[in-house]
Every structure is written in C-alpha cells, then in structure tokens.
C-alpha cells in the first residue's frame, strides 16, 4: 500500500517545460516556463529580458532628434506609431503645434502602419494555429504598405520620418494616385484574408473559447488595446482621449464579446477596416501647407515633465518624459502595451492545454523590442 501511494504521488509531479527563448512561436526571444499535469497547464511563468537593449537609458544620452531613431526600434513592427508618440511628447512639452498638413500625413501613415502591423499579426497567428497560407497573404498586404512607406519616408521599417514639430519631407507627387490603388488593394486584401481564415472550421476549433479572460480581470491586469477590446470594453485612446486630429474622423471601436483568442483575432481584422476608413477620410481632407513648424534643429524643451498616451497597434503606448532644459532628456519612460498585456498571460493560460499555449501567446501579439526596451 505504501509503495503504491508513492507511485501515485510520483505520477502527479508536474512536468516543467521550457518554451523559448529560441522557440519559433514566441515572436522574438521570449521564455515561457510552464508546468504541466498531463496536458493541462497548472502554472506558468514568463521570463523577459532577452532583448533588453537599455533603450530608455540610451535616450538620456541622445539629443531629441536622435531619440526618434531609438523609438523606431521599440515596436519594430509599428515604427511610425512609436515615432509619433515621442515627437508628440516633446511637442507637448515645448508647446509646439505641428501644421495641419503634417498632422494629416502622420495620421495617414500611422493608420497604415497599424494595418501593416495587424497584417503581420494575422499571418503569424495563422501560422501559430497551424495554417501556412495566411502568412503569405498577410505579408503580401504588408508589403504593399511598406512599398508606400518606402516612397514616402525612404525606408521600409526604420523610417526616422516624423520630427518634432512635423514630418521630415513632404509626400511625393504621385502619392494620391498610389494611395488610391493601395487602399483598393488593401480593402480587397483584408476581405480576402478575413474570408480565408476567420470562419475556417479548424481555426475556430482552435481559438473559440480558448484563453478567455473577463473584462474586469483584463482591466485589473492593465491590459489595453485589441486584447482589452476583445473582452467587450470599448476603450481606445483615439476616441476616449483623442490626440493629434483623431477627433475629426468618423470611425468605430470594434469590440469582442468573450475575450477569447478568436475575439482578440477578429477585433484586429475589424480594426484594419476602421483604419482603412480613417485613411480614406484623411486622404480626402489632406490640406495644403507647411509640413513642419519651425523648431530649432537641436530642440531644447523647457524644464518639466510630460506624459502622453497614444494608441499603438498593440494598445496604450505612453511616453513619460522629464526634461531638465538641456538638449537631452533627463528621463524617458515608456509604457509599452506589449509589456502590460503580457501580465495577462498567466491568467489566460490558467487551465489551458499545452497545445494552446502558443495560440494564447500569439493572440496577445507581443513585440519583444517593446517588452524589453
């Protein structure tokens, strides 16, 4: 009897599994330790820091114009959204108002970047669920956006285009025509992507009801962005606290119902449609005029501090900036949405199966450059 009891206990010892940091489905170098009992996950523990570059500290040694290049590399899938956040923070501190045209160009490019980012999510998420096709389609659409970026900013990813007080260069002459084709193509592309994966039986079976968290829990854990909206909370910084010129556009905030993986996925598909709408409106309203306010090349904001929230594709991207009056910031703190959303991972993984860990992690859409900074 004694012996049998011991064996039973030995049977129930949880098995520790290391996912990452070099696991291909962790979207970067992210290590997730899970303890499993059979197929069920009993405990999980995320480990971050494998991509830590000290960006916040590096900012303290760079001039404001040089910091933009560091922000490019935070969320390296949605570079322009990060650039916008730091530039707007410096502008707020200096009391500079960028010209109308610059604001419109920024919004157009940032919304396109949101689409590009969600397209990458779409492709990679399909891959996480075991479907090979979506990534090819997602990348096809993303490539179109990046080709446009290349013609406007000169770079496909690390643009360094948005400046304190405006943007670097005016849009090229053929921008309007290219934009029209691009928007038509993207519209078709989003529909095609949606058709391809969203209602696929196998995809539904793998994502519906998986990794669900309640709205209260999500709010308690500081989740923002599509992951929060999937729980049914219509919170979007663009509408709740409009920055730049977002109050001039007519767009909806898509929300989910159950807060499960499928909702988190589908909120992003819907968001792409809304972003396309914003871009269409912005292109139609694009005014003529200056593209940059006159700001000295070496910006010296007055002494003080500022906090600014923007809505990046991953959620509420905040920048806290302390200036001591010199040409370099005293302190820069980034509230990275990926990092905060990652807090919910443990809650989502509760009682999930091992096979779903990848799907759940993928549905948060983390970017490690932003998590580790």
């Amino acid at each position: 009897m004694q012996i049998q009891q011991q064996t039973q206990q030995a049977d129930s010892i949880d098995l520790m599994i290391n996912m990452g940091p070099q696991h291909p489905s962790t979207h970067g170098v992210f290590r997730l330790v899970i303890w499993v009992d059979g197929e069920k996950i009993v405990r999980s523990e995320p480990h971050i820091g494998y991509l830590h570059r000290g960006s916040e500290k590096l900012c303290e040694g760079e001039q404001y114009s040089q910091i933009i290049t560091l922000f490019d590399r935070l969320d390296y899938v949605a570079n322009l959204n990060c650039e916008l956040a730091i530039c707007m923070a410096v502008e707020k501190l200096m009391g500079v108002q960028p010209p109308e045209r610059a604001e419109y160009i920024r919004v157009i490019l940032c919304e396109l970047n949101r689409i590009a980012s969600h397209m990458l999510f779409y492709g990679v998420y399909g891959l996480d669920a075991g479907a090979m096709t979506p990534i090819l389609y997602g990348f096809r659409e993303r490539e179109r956006v990046q080709a446009l970026f290349e013609s406007v900013t000169g770079a496909r990813m690390m643009h360094n285009y948005i400046r304190v007080g405006g943007v670097n260069e005016d849009i090229p002459d053929d921008f309007g025509a290219r934009m029209n084709t691009l928007l038509d193509q993207l519209e078709r592309g989003v529909e095609e992507c949606d058709e391809l994966l969203s209602q696929n039986e196998m995809f539904l079976a793998r994502t519906k009801g998986i990794g669900a968290i309640s709205a209260e829990e999500a709010i308690d854990l500081g989740v923002t962005g599509p992951a929060l909206r999937a729980c049914g909370v219509a919170e979007d910084v663009r509408t709740s606290e409009p920055y730049s010129i977002y109050d001039r556009f007519d767009f909806g905030v898509p929300v989910g119902t159950y807060g499960d993986c499928w909702d988190r996925y589908y909120v992003r598909i819907e968001e792409m449609r809304q972003s396309l709408g914003i871009v269409r409106q912005a292109v139609a309203q694009l005014p003529e005029g200056e593209i940059a306010a006159s700001v000295r090349r070496i910006a010296r904001p007055p002494k003080g501090e500022v906090y600014l929230r923007t809505e990046s594709p991953r959620g509420d991207f905040g920048v806290f900036l302390v200036s001591d009056g010199s040409d370099k910031p005293y302190r820069v703190k980034v509230r990275a949405p990926s990092f905060c959303n990652l807090q919910a991972l443990q809650a989502m993984l509760r009682d999930a199966y091992v096979a779903d860990a990848v799907i759940i992690l993928g549905s948060i859409d983390i970017i490690l450059g932003e998590v580790d900074r």
């Binding site: 040089q66 290049t69 000169g154 670097n168 090229p172 039986e201």
Partner: protein, 188 residues
C-alpha cells in the same frame, strides 16, 4: 470538413495565378528601389570645380546617433588659386557602414549639400571591418548615385564651389547620364 474543402478551392484558384513575389539575384528581375530610398550615405562630387562638396565641418559627425563617422578638415589649395569658393575642404572621411543605421540625420544637418543617402544597400563583406569606407569609396558611391539619379544640389547658389569673382557662372558641364528622370533608372 467544409472548411477543409473551401481551403482546397482557394489553393486551386491561386495555383495558376501570376506570382506576387519578385526574384532577387538577377538585377533585371528584382524590385527597384524608390527614388527616396535611403541607402548608405555617400559624399557628393562637385563636377563644376571639381572637388567634393564636403568642407569637413564635422556637423554630421556630431549629429550621428551611432558615432560611426569621422572627418578631417584641411585648407583648400584651390581656394588659394581662386578656382574654388570653398575655403576648407575635406581631407579624410571615414564612415563605418557596419554601424550606420541609415537614419538620414547626417543628410538633414549638412549645410553644404555634401552628403546624401545613396541607393547602395548591398554591402556584405567577409571581414568585420570591411564596411569601413574612406573618402575615396564614399566619393565613388556618391558619383554613382549622382550619375544614376541626376542629383542636383538643393541650394546651388550657396553651395556651388564655382568662384563668384569669376563673373557669370559658366554653364555647368553635366556628365552624361545626369539629368535623367530621378529614380527611373535607380540602381538596385
């Protein structure tokens, strides 16, 4: 099961379609870069004088966020001979292109139209420091860029090296190839 068949229908539909991707290695098949493409920085050549536009003022060196450049200024002998308006000229210039992050800040800050982001982006080397380029190489890159895109200075009145004392500015002897539509025959 229906989803599975639907998936196969998509596969069949796309099987015969023209491929979306461009091929890479052959130069004529690959994608062309946009006119604004920011490749590695290159120093430009003033064909009118002839000498580099760069005066070695070091502004770009100080503004570079990765500190990957270094420059040395010297007196311009052509200025003494009244062949050039540039009092100072670059003596040596080095950029470690392995460190350059292609941000374009050096181009923004240069007051002399002397540096430009070329369309050069294929610079794989076997050695770690193989991409440390000196003045001559930077100039070659710049001349290639000028020839390919028909680059002209943004502020010719200020930045041309042709001495003003000489009276009317002679018609600039343009190189063959210069003046072609910008970017239409951009190098890859």
């Amino acid at each position: 099961m229906i989803g599975f068949i639907e998936g196969l229908v998509v596969t069949l539909k796309t099987a015969l379609r023209k491929p979306v991707t461009d091929e890479y290695p052959e130069p004529e098949k690959r994608r062309q870069v946009e006119p604004r493409y920011m490749g590695f920085p290159a120093l430009l050549w003033d064909y009118d004088v002839p000498e580099p536009y760069c005066t070695g003022c070091m502004v770009c060196v100080r503004a570079c966020p990765t500190q990957c450049m270094s420059a040395q200024m010297t007196d311009n002998p052509k200025y003494a001979d009244e062949q050039s308006r540039r009092r100072k000229i670059i003596e040596s210039f080095e950029i470690n292109l392995g460190r350059c992050i292609l941000c374009g800040i050096c181009v923004d800050v240069c007051n002399f139209d002397a540096i430009e982001m070329s369309h050069e982006h294929e610079l794989s080397k076997y050695e770690r420091n193989g991409n440390r380029v000196d003045l001559g190489q930077l100039m070659d890159m710049g001349r290639k860029f000028q020839g390919d895109t028909g680059w002209s200075p943004s502020n010719p009145a200020k930045n041309s090296g042709v001495p003003v004392a000489k009276g009317s500015r002679r018609a600039a002897p343009r190189r063959a190839g210069a003046g072609s539509a910008v970017g239409s025959d951009a190098p890859s």
